[in-house]
């Protein structure tokens, strides 16, 4: 490579003159092309390419307390608009979705607070978000009833976590709910670590009250062939990762199982690669496993997903325009919620 090729494109300085739309600001980031600004701009380009390809399945991996912090409506809308095809999430995010669907709330708090004082006031803290204990208790009571109904209707039949999520969505009437939106739009939701959340504790209440007879049966292994079939049925696969952890690897492993690898990847994280944990692992590391194609369109944004992801979505929606319509790109005939 020659020196003139190395020094091809000068940094253009960010100009803010008068009003700017979100996408215009992202264009300014692109002109700079540097540090986080350059990566956010690249992430928007990659997401736009994913949704413009009809045969690309767009997976969203959701880890971290994104629903308590305020991303619930955004994710539900993306499902309804088919700008996400498949959601892979922690159980906790769906627990907090159900809390709000049942009338509970998350409250603006502060990170510098006496946590023992919060304990004595039956208030839980998620960094600077507070959740009243009552909202969890009301969730427990309502979901035990729902688990009972699901167990009675399914009579010992094993459900995958997607079946479980749709069964929940069927019974939650709040149209702003992610679970409800997934049920209504037939968007698969995988919750691979479903028991590692309040959903697991609620199972214990449900099963104990029934002396562990005729209980609800959810089998996360059942998800594996389902998500592999979705990957296999798509000519291209793209993933947007918020955080990482189990949801990120669930998507990546499915792509590996199909021997095709992921074509587009955006990871938004603040974790570091040096610990060896998946949430901080670089996308180059993912290539080494065959989970991401070597020539994949990819970027990793080091930043707070509460800032980065809404900017990405706003920018891409602006580019697509109001009249843009996209069909859900999931080809797996056996996946359909029960009416």
């Amino acid at each position: 490579m020659q020196r003139k090729e190395i020094l091809r494109e000068p940094v253009q300085h960010i100009r803010i003159k008068g009003k700017l739309t979100v996408n215009q600001l992202v264009q300014q980031f692109q002109n700079s092309g540097s540090f986080g600004a350059g990566r956010v701009a690249a992430a928007c380009d990659i997401y736009e390419r994913m949704v413009r390809e009809d045969d690309c399945t767009v997976f969203l991996a959701l880890a971290g307390a994104m629903v308590p912090a305020g991303l619930r409506q955004l994710v539900a809308d993306l499902l309804r608009e088919n700008l996400i095809d498949v959601l892979v999430t922690t159980g906790a995010n769906m627990v907090h979705d159900a809390i709000e669907a049942l009338g509970g709330h998350h409250y603006k708090g502060h990170w510098a607070v006496d946590d023992y004082m919060l304990y004595k006031n039956h208030t839980y803290r998620i960094y600077d978000v507070f959740v009243p204990e009552e909202d969890f208790i009301k969730l427990d009571m309502e979901l035990v009833k729902i688990y009972d109904q699901m167990a009675n209707e399914n009579k010992g039949k094993t459900l995958s976590s997607t079946d479980f999520a749709w069964e929940m969505g069927k019974r939650l009437k709040d149209s702003n709910s992610i679970l409800r939106a997934a049920y209504e739009t037939k968007a698969p939701i995988f919750i691979p670590a479903v028991r590692d959340s309040e959903f697991g504790y609620i199972y214990n209440l449900h099963a104990t009250r029934r002396q562990f007879k005729n209980t609800l049966v959810v089998d996360a292994f059942k998800d594996v062939p389902e998500i592999i079939s979705i990957c296999r049925g798509s000519s291209k696969n793209g993933m947007i990762v918020i955080g990482g952890g189990v949801p990120r690897n669930t998507i990546q492993s499915a792509a590996l199982a199909t021997k095709s690898g992921i074509d587009y990847a955006v990871v938004i994280t603040m974790d570091r690669a040096e610990t060896g944990g998946l949430s901080g692992s670089t996308l180059e590391e993912t290539v080494s496993w065959g989970k991401l194609k070597g020539q994949a369109d990819k970027t990793m944004v080091i930043g707070d997903a509460m800032i980065v992801f809404p900017i990405m979505v706003a920018s891409v929606k602006e580019r697509l325009g109001r009249d843009f319509r996209r069909a859900r790109s999931v080809k797996y005939e056996n996946l359909n919620p029960k009416e």
């Binding site: 304990y119 039956h122 009243p132 009552e134 969890f136 009571m141």
Partner: protein, 67 residues
């Protein structure tokens, strides 16, 4: 025979309670698992009152509210 509640023997002061309608009503896990009504008054005392208290403000806030 039901125990006579002592100064600290209230549902809102045992380890089986969670907040249900703070501070007036608490949720009792023990009663819930026995399919009994699990929502009880914070100042109620059941036969199963557990002799180990949770440090919280349920009782004092209820009493303050009653005054």
């Amino acid at each position: 025979m039901k125990k006579k509640p002592s100064k600290h023997m209230f549902c809102g002061n045992c380890t089986s309670h969670n907040a249900y309608d703070f501070p007036d009503q608490v949720f009792c896990t023990r009663r819930f698992l026995k399919n009994q009504n699990a929502i009880v008054s914070t100042l109620w005392c059941c036969e199963d009152w557990y002799p180990s208290a949770q440090e919280c403000h349920c009782i004092e806030e209820t009493l303050k509210k009653q005054k």
